[in-house]
Amino acid sequence: MRRPVTLDLAQRLNALGAIVAALVIAGAWYFEFSTHEAPCPFCLMIRICFTGIAIGALLNVRFGVRVAHYGLCLLFAVVGMVICFYDVVSSYPPISSWGSTPFMGLHLPTWGFISFAAAAALLGAVMFWEAQFRGTPADTESTPTPWRYLGYAAFALIAVITAGNIIIGYTVCGASLTCAG
């Protein structure tokens, strides 16, 4: 039984989630450019994890809401938490290696940890909404125009952010495979 209303709403919320993930990275850009400080390799990996969460959400937008897509988002959130945690504890007390000035009393890696933990908790909560997994996904063409544009905006925003991160990553790490050398 097709339940387009429920499914459409879930896909729209996933598009919004992808946009939020992209805006988080855009916030990091703001700190980077306003303080004229290049991001550390850890910070780049944290951005990749936010991009991964957005990719999971975009999979839900494009192919319909699936448990596997949420699982992918959750795995990226967990890896992001691990990297943020290591970043925080390995350079305690917070010193110049983090570069940016604190935001509301906390440095960006700490905010990253909080964000990933919040994303993981939100994903767990969203899984309780079982109705979203039933029915046939609404395809892009049948979706009313304004909501279709929301999906397009999510794709465009995260694509532009990721392309920008390629340039930033090159300025920080060059073509290095791991940024270690």
């Binding site: 990749i48 991009t51 991964g52 990719i55 999979l59 890896v79 790490c173 495979l177 791991t178």
Partner: protein, 51 residues
Amino acid sequence: MIWLFMVALVAIAAIFLGARRRVALALAFLLLVGVFAVFVSMQWGNEGLGL
């Protein structure tokens, strides 16, 4: 490390352009394993967390 962002961009493009779901998922998992592998390789042998 830019290869990770490139993989991410290719995954986004694949999803948008309507590639097979398996292909898109494979690219996403490559990104997931890649970022974790880079993280581990950077820290391998760096014990003690600097505390």
